[in-house]
């Protein structure tokens, strides 16, 4: 991939390159960042400045907080919640997030909710309808449908997929 090769050419070691992100094995100084930016710009790439990537981080952590803490804020509108919390127009937040992450804020929110559902299913302390209520789904059916869409599995199937170390593969 272009970015990986170019970074290597100018003396950096990228060890993980995905769409939108590069992980380097070293810390970057301001002049390093500048060098990288200038170099990548010649290929039409741009290093997203810290302010924007910080904002993306804030969007993600706000959503994670919203989903994983038991609070009534889940009942409010996601766009209103984020724009008031982060003091930015939601259109701007949405566009920034989509540009960098390659997916929408709404999809990220759904993904986090499903993560939470998985966690609650495994802990096995709440019934499916209690989980649906906690995460503000209108019904168990709604939760199940969304779960299946995201994971390809039904919630009940998911509860049974753990593998047991003591059973060899052919007895699973």
């Amino acid at each position: 991939m272009v970015v990986k090769n170019e970074l290597e050419k100018i003396g950096f070691e990228p060890f993980n390159v995905r769409l939108g992100e590069v992980e380097l094995s070293q810390e970057l100084s301001a002049s390093d960042k500048d060098r990288i930016n200038k170099h990548l710009q010649t290929f039409g790439f741009k290093f997203i400045d810290d302010k924007r990537s910080r904002l993306i981080g804030q969007i993600k952590s706000s959503i994670i907080e919203l989903v994983h803490q038991q609070n009534s804020k889940l009942k409010t509108n996601l766009s209103e919640f984020l724009s008031s919390k982060l003091s930015h127009d939601y259109t701007y937040l949405s566009k920034l997030f989509s540009e960098v992450e390659g997916t929408t804020i709404e999809k990220y929110f759904i993904a986090q909710k499903i993560e939470k559902v998985k966690e609650l299913l495994v802990y096995d302390e709440l019934s499916l309808s209690q989980i649906a209520f906690q995460l503000n789904y209108s019904s168990v059916a709604h939760l199940s449908n969304q779960f299946k869409k995201v994971t390809g599995l039904t919630p009940s199937h998911f509860k049974n997929i753990k593998s047991d170390k003591r059973k060899p593969l052919d007895e699973v």
Binding site: K46, T103, E106, G152
Partner: protein, 185 residues
């Protein structure tokens, strides 16, 4: 990829990822990344560390896959990529079925193992890989969306569009315009 990839089953959510990270740190095994079911190590791991890790993970209910099962998961992942790149197989039968036939194994066993590691179905994993592939093609400006659909074995542009939107929330055209306008990675 540097180092080794370990597969761990029964990691179901973000909290599990944190627990596994903590275990790795305690056992002093450096890692590059952790996702559900997979840990990418910085370097190779010796047998003693492997056993220590396996034990500690086991205490939390996680299972470090042995060599045989690790090989199986890697074969499944590779096979899915092969199937995606070979249009003729697409749509006729399930990934699980194709892979079971290829390796002469039980379809149910393969699905069960894969699901316990990745927490999603084989089909969903395949769809996600396909969409990533579509994204890469979209960023590379030379193909039209129609051509991408054809290249990746979709029945038609609507089929591609629907799957893409289902997974990313955006139409392929919107994704492409966002990426092109800004020029960001």
């Amino acid at each position: 990829m540097i180092g080794q990839t370990l597969y761990v089953s029964n990691m179901v959510c973000g909290r599990c990822v944190s627990v596994v990270a903590e275990v790795l740190r305690k056992v002093n095994i450096p890692f590059v990344s952790i996702q559900l079911g997979e840990v990418e190590l910085l370097g190779p791991m010796n047998q003693m560390n492997r056993e220590k890790l396996s034990l500690k993970l086991g205490l939390h209910g996680f299972v470090l896959l042995d060599h045989e099962n690790t090989l199986m998961i890697e074969r499944v992942k590779e096979s899915i990529l092969e199937i995606i790149n070979d249009n003729s197989a697409v749509g006729k039968t399930s990934y699980a079925q194709l892979i079971a036939e290829k390796f002469h194994l039980d379809r149910q066993q393969i699905s069960a193992l894969f699901e316990s590691v990745k927490c999603i179905s084989l089909k969903k994993y395949g769809d996600l890989q396909k969409v990533e592939h579509v994204k890469e093609c979209l960023i590379n400006e030379s193909l039209t969306i129609q051509q991408i659909a054809y290249k990746l074995g979709y029945r038609n542009i609507h089929h591609l569009s629907n799957q893409f939107r289902e997974i990313t929330g955006m139409t392929p055209a919107r994704f492409r315009s966002l990426k092109m306008f800004d020029g960001s990675l």
